[in-house]
């Protein structure tokens, strides 16, 4: 196929040489400079965690030193019962005056009227126990100032355990729906098999 004839315009006289148009990268640069910090700060967090451990036997073999805790351990225990109640054993400051029932070796947080566990009450009484049991002692006077042992019957589902761990791990948040800034409570949580007695 023959080539197209050059346009008449081109034929006419000399045209000044075209200057190379430069790509304006500044706008693009600005956009990228905004996007990078924005993406860095907006990391999606769709999973969270509860740190737990298995109970240890004997309490380790560390030699006694001058800085070792002088007081006996609290040994606070919490049992999740299948009927929706919770049993707290070895509480120092809690009593039936806190709305708890005395049963066997411990105090029981009764379930709500519909049989659901009363998690708010559990959290409230545990917060009282955690904040008041030290009295005037420093936390390092005890070997387990932030420790609690949680146990449950084998057939309790993990969802109930996780909901209970929320109430054990954190204090009641200022606004109940906003747990982002909830203060730490029992940060060392041991999961133990079976129901715990005294």
């Amino acid at each position: 196929m023959p080539g197209l004839p050059p346009s008449g315009r081109k034929k006419r006289g000399k045209r000044p040489p075209e200057r190379e148009e430069k790509l304006n990268l500044i706008v693009c640069m600005n956009l990228i400079c905004i996007l990078i910090p924005a993406l860095l700060s907006m990391q999606i967090q769709d999973f969270y965690r509860h740190d737990v451990e298995l109970p240890t036997r004997g309490g380790g073999g560390a030699p006694p030193s001058s800085s070792a805790p002088k007081r006996p351990p609290f040994n606070l225990k919490l049992t999740i019962n299948p009927d929706g109640s919770f049993m707290i054993v070895n509480a120092k400051v809690l009593s039936t005056a806190d709305g708890l029932l005395k049963r066997g070796p411990g105090l029981v947080v009764p379930p709500l009227g519909n049989g659901e566990p009363d998690l708010r009450k559990l959290q409230r009484v545990l917060q009282k126990e955690h904040s008041q049991r030290l009295a005037s002692d420093p936390p390092d006077a005890y070997p387990d100032p932030d420790q609690i042992t949680v146990s449950a019957p084998g057939d309790v589902d993990f969802q109930r355990v996780a909901s209970t761990l929320d109430c054990v791990r954190f204090e009641v948040p200022a606004s109940y729906g906003d747990w982002t800034n909830a203060k730490d409570m029992f940060s060392v949580i041991s999961l133990s098999p079976g129901a715990v007695g005294g």
Partner: protein, 157 residues
């Protein structure tokens, strides 16, 4: 007496702008990397593994993940990292032996891949919310038996 710059020098001065093309390239690579990271989570749950809903806001770490769900009485299916799913029935005396052995194989690599010393020996455990407490404890024992003592139970908001 001021001299007028020659035409050539004038043109050179006009062209002497900062070359930001290489900078642009770098930024574009960073941007692509960030966009790729943006959509990914540190835990990618496999199908059928639904962690429990909880209020905790402690962030998960980028460490080895073990996913577990019950597939029958005393039987679990599990996924370690991105490996294919496996199933095991509990031995009445020894617990989940195969799970422990598989985790043991991963231990060295898992520790080598984390730079933070506090995360050595740590593992994210994504248990299905219907898992029973007794199975959860058996899984935790298997993990501890393989050298993972820092157990982090994953939850969803």
């Amino acid at each position: 007496m001021a001299l007028y710059p020659s035409k050539r020098r004038e043109k050179e001065e006009e062209d002497a702008e900062m070359n930001i093309t290489s900078l642009m390239d770098t930024f574009t690579i960073i941007l692509v990397f960030l966009i790729r990271q943006f959509g990914t989570s540190s835990i990618e749950p496999a199908e059928g593994y639904r962690p429990p809903i909880a209020n905790t806001r402690l962030a998960v770490d980028r460490i080895l993940t073990l996913q577990v769900k019950e597939v029958g009485r005393d039987a679990v299916a599990y996924v370690i990292g991105t490996k294919p799913s496996k199933a095991e029935r509990k031995d009445a005396r020894l617990g989940y032996q195969q799970l422990r052995a598989d985790l043991k194989l991963e231990k060295t690599l898992a520790d080598a891949s984390v730079t933070d010393e506090t995360l050595k020996g740590a593992i994210n455990i994504v248990c299905d919310r219907r898992l029973t407490y007794s199975t959860l404890l058996e899984v935790m024992k298997s993990a501890a038996g393989a050298g993972f003592y820092k157990l982090k139970l994953a939850t969803q908001p």
